[in-house]
Symmetry: C2
Subunit: 753 residues, 2 copies
Amino acid sequence: MPDTELSGGDLTLVAVVLVISLAALGFAFYLSRAVMAADQGTPKMQEIARAIQEGAGAFLRRQFRTLGVFAVIVFVLLLLLPVSDGGVGTRVGRAVFFLLGAAFSASVGFIGMTLATRGNVRVAAAAAAGGHRPAFRIAFRTGGVCGMITVGLGLFGASLALLLFQETGPVVLEGFGFGGALLAMFMRVGGGIFTKAADVGADLVGKVEAGIPEDDPRNAATIADNVGDNVGDCAGMAADLFESYAVTLVAALILGQVFFGPVGMVFPLVVAAVGIIASIVGILASNPGAGDSSWMAPINRGFFTSAAVSLVLVAVASFTVLPSISDGLDVSVSPQVLGFVSVLIGIVLAATIQQLTGYFTETSRRPVKDVGRSSLTGPATVILSGISLGLESAVYAALLIGAAVYGAFLIGGAAALYAVALAGCGLLTTAGVIVSMDTFGPVSDNAQGIAEMSGEIDEEGAQVLTDLDAVGNTTKAITKGIAIATAVLAATALFGSYNASIGDALDDAGATLGDAFTLVSPNNVVGAVIGAAVVFFFSGLAISAVSRAAGRVVFEVREQFRTRPGIMDYSERPDYGAVVDICTKDSLRELATPGLLAVLAPVAVGFGLGFGPLAAYLVGAIATGTLMAVFLSNSGGAWDNAKKMVEDGAYGGKGSQAHAATVIGDTVGDPFKDTAGPAINPLIKVMNLVALLIAPAIVGMSVGDDENTTLRVLIALGATLVIVVAVVISKRRSIVVGGESDTTTSALTTSAP
Amino acid sequence: MPDTELSGGDLTLVAVVLVISLAALGFAFYLSRAVMAADQGTPKMQEIARAIQEGAGAFLRRQFRTLGVFAVIVFVLLLLLPVSDGGVGTRVGRAVFFLLGAAFSASVGFIGMTLATRGNVRVAAAAAAGGHRPAFRIAFRTGGVCGMITVGLGLFGASLALLLFQETGPVVLEGFGFGGALLAMFMRVGGGIFTKAADVGADLVGKVEAGIPEDDPRNAATIADNVGDNVGDCAGMAADLFESYAVTLVAALILGQVFFGPVGMVFPLVVAAVGIIASIVGILASNPGAGDSSWMAPINRGFFTSAAVSLVLVAVASFTVLPSISDGLDVSVSPQVLGFVSVLIGIVLAATIQQLTGYFTETSRRPVKDVGRSSLTGPATVILSGISLGLESAVYAALLIGAAVYGAFLIGGAAALYAVALAGCGLLTTAGVIVSMDTFGPVSDNAQGIAEMSGEIDEEGAQVLTDLDAVGNTTKAITKGIAIATAVLAATALFGSYNASIGDALDDAGATLGDAFTLVSPNNVVGAVIGAAVVFFFSGLAISAVSRAAGRVVFEVREQFRTRPGIMDYSERPDYGAVVDICTKDSLRELATPGLLAVLAPVAVGFGLGFGPLAAYLVGAIATGTLMAVFLSNSGGAWDNAKKMVEDGAYGGKGSQAHAATVIGDTVGDPFKDTAGPAINPLIKVMNLVALLIAPAIVGMSVGDDENTTLRVLIALGATLVIVVAVVISKRRSIVVGGESDTTTSALTTSAP
């Protein structure tokens, strides 16, 4: 291993990076001022917006209270867990940075969502005033705030840890990444269940049963649906990309130190700082101009501008920061070329994933058209065609990501894993713009909802919002694809860090790895099967949680229609708060089981079967997780757009049999694409980080002086027991809902005309 | 490695095993005589049965013609591929045994199906005569013929190879297993597409559009539907279990030779012979008696009797055939205990999988009830609850199978892989009874179809057939679960053989393995991702093939209703043969792409990325394949039974909204459970066998004197190119169907009342 001391020059460079990260936060503040200065619209719009703000704020505060307790428990556990490198100071630092990562992740979600719930009404007001461009600008800048906070806080944490802890910085950052990933996973799952329970519930009872349009103010679930867009799509996605960003940096720093010493740690930070500059340029470049042919044009300009700026600056950085010859490492190219090409692979991957996802989910392309046409033979063929589309598209995405990893492997030689981590950094140089694009989606969606509910917007303004919403659907699908790619690269790199950590721990215990990591041992095959199984289980739990919570929403809305007969003729106001409450309580209760599964399954496998099967477990989870995440996202996206296609007039348009068939497809797709699918990203990383954190403890109990099989097996059994109890409790809940559901039927029957 | 010469005593024992395998065939002949002697029913029944016989026979003959060409190509390729052990004689033997395995696999399917299409009408006739017990007995004995031929031919081939080739027998048997698996995979895919295209097509146009019941003679697709039951459920399943049986024996022989020499090869054959005796006892024990409380009782008695007989005989065999002390191998228990416990694990696994599958797919248990209840909120919730049930149940099945593999690993020590293979043999000691149970399903289903179509059966007789059909549904689900378990054990063991083969080849080339098989290298992670991706792709292709072919069936039946207006009032006869023709042509055309994918993807990965990534590829495919297979089977099974539950009167019964919702679920489930899901079993094994066969060639081109990177890369590119072309061609086909589908709509519109 190369020399590990950071030189004065290195530290100065890190300090510069820290300043750039603060500049990102400053730019976010500047953008938010611009958004807040815009007109807030009519009092009625403001009233609706306030209801959404309150609901979203209440949910997040409650969620943070629940998760706070959990974070404190993990904090204590981290203090107890041994570290592979460094003493008590490192251990405490890691635990403190865990809290910092969790707090940053929560803050990104909270601030982004707070601004989104203020931006939405301003976008609606700008559209009401008839301005396409001002409305677009406000929506995109609202996203920009979110984007710049995401990258700013991520880079701030990473550079701070390196400044404070220097050579043990990477170990401390494990805590930072874990805190970010854990919070993000819970926010993804909780927010995902909230948003889809409200959405599916509102659709089932509103569109299908009562025959009233989407976002109709008579539907008691309509505010909850809009709250859900903010807590799921906006806060959840922001936290998710924050943790992707943080975790990728963590992996790059750990591996950089292993292969290239201090400069290996500094370079990823420089790449990230380059990304911040590129993102600022990109956001400024995405101002719509007179020459733009469509509303996707400025967004694409923003993305590709920032990619181009990154490329140039990364080339400069590679050839100035990195050494031209490698120090005794078996690498066929110079570190400079290795660094540049790896980052380049990541940037290219982001661009190709964007195209691929677009192909499979845009209304104008063949796959979605095929799903739309299958609506002629009914809902069953819509479901089947969407599922086969999802399965196939997952394969292409996996092959693309696989090609990127393999490319990094080829260029990286002995430092292959570092190259993979750098490709991940490359993928994220455009993160600022990507988060902006993504947040653009729920903000436009909400603006449309507010306009619809207030009834105070003319046809021209409504058209503006419809246009923006369509663009938002495309950008949301694209960012999901990129988020999954970052997850795979980060997880593959982290997995390499796991290997390094096991190696260190074995060295300390005076033992060798031997054949523990071989692919061809039956116990490792079993580990891989369990890893794949956890992805299936997690997806199944998330989907069934949405079904359960949506059932309760349906029950509540039906009940309100029954007990307040004035709702239908607008003489009575539905109780929106009651539905928000149900979604809040249910989503927080439902996130426990998948959350515990994610954290404890690696503990059970690692302590129970050993560190070899745990490595295989991670491989199984990465391989299956990649495919499952893309499958769920793309099937869902295709069904959503097939429905839009029919609503735009194909195959009989609204009200036809074909429309009914695609509405069923869309409902099935909701929890696929917005709950289970996106939560797999943080899931994969949380599991890798847990493995990384427990690696020294597992090795310690397995070999050498501290060998303690009894304790090891007890820990595994304890973790398994907690998972089993959590699963059993959630099954019992479904019995209760079943009972309610029967009541529901009778409630419906008695109130039916 | 222990001494490899087989002693005279060993050879005598193998000869005895050969005689027992012939006895199984004799018993099959005896059973078939008994079946054929039964009454054939009325002339109208016979006429219908003949139509089914002709259709099924025509399909299989055409399929064999197509596959024959393919088999000859593979035969030539096998002659060219180097072997890891032995000379030209071995190479020729392996190629000849490939043809033999393929021929046996085809024969098992053909004979089983031929008898099933004769047994069905006799079951109908016995039921018409009012006899519960005679009808049951004929149905089960028809299955028994299939079962005994399956195990008889499998064991005959394995013991013959060992007698003829002795120590190079295992290498020759690679060809035998590959032939069996390849044919089985094609029969599974082809038969699966045929049966579900006809079934889904018949349902969409008959039940949904025309409002006529299932199996109504006015539906032109009804004969094709019954033909499909035979070629898919019966011929396909028999071939599948034949190859599971053969491949498990092959893996056990290869590994047995590696770890224990000759006795390691002889013991699995003895276990299989014990299984034949146990199966004969089991089939005889399943005669229904006066004391049986339900029609599942005699079937369960047959299964558990054969399991008990196996257990006792295996204990005797272990302690007489195997040595009491191991020869320098690091195994904590004696070979006798190792052998007995491993086989025991397999037998126990069969019993527990049976229980688990029953829990998730039986109408009387909670999971299916929950899916049924979700029909109250419409088809979307039916689909979602079925999918989450499938995902979760896959996890439990995977954990059970994983536990069995891990158990074998623990008991096996250094010979862990052999223990896994022996557990596979244990699982298959009851294979004779399992195939009988499975074939019972389509025979009963067909008998009901014939009775319904002929209209010549009274209420009592109809009740007999309904009872038998319900039992058949349960047995079919159970055997699917067991088939998946055998696939995983066989694949894990084969995967061990792959390792051994790579080791041998490297020794020959004077090279060492080094870190090639490590889990933690990025290129191996990519291999695992591709392996998982192939399972997703294969499933997607199979599902979309059914959608396409079913679309054509719908078109044809609609066309017949339009051009022959007399069909609805029975004054005109529909052209059944036209639909059988469409299904035949389409399924043969559609099986090419998934088939080529299965054979060529390992070639592309192995030659392109190397033998390390190919090992990871296999792990990814095994892990994901296990879960996907159970997910698809159980989701489909649960939807099917949720529909039956509603048809039996729950939630409004037939004709209600809930019924419509469950019919949609069942239609989605059809290609899940009968096309894609079951085809994953042979897929996993075909890929492992291809890897095993090409292992020496890959090593030869990668290291040593014959290193030839250009040729290696060219082979990989060639394989990739063929896959890409096949995929592109099948996509083009879907455009044509799309065009037809538009015509279809107008055809429907003009003929609509």
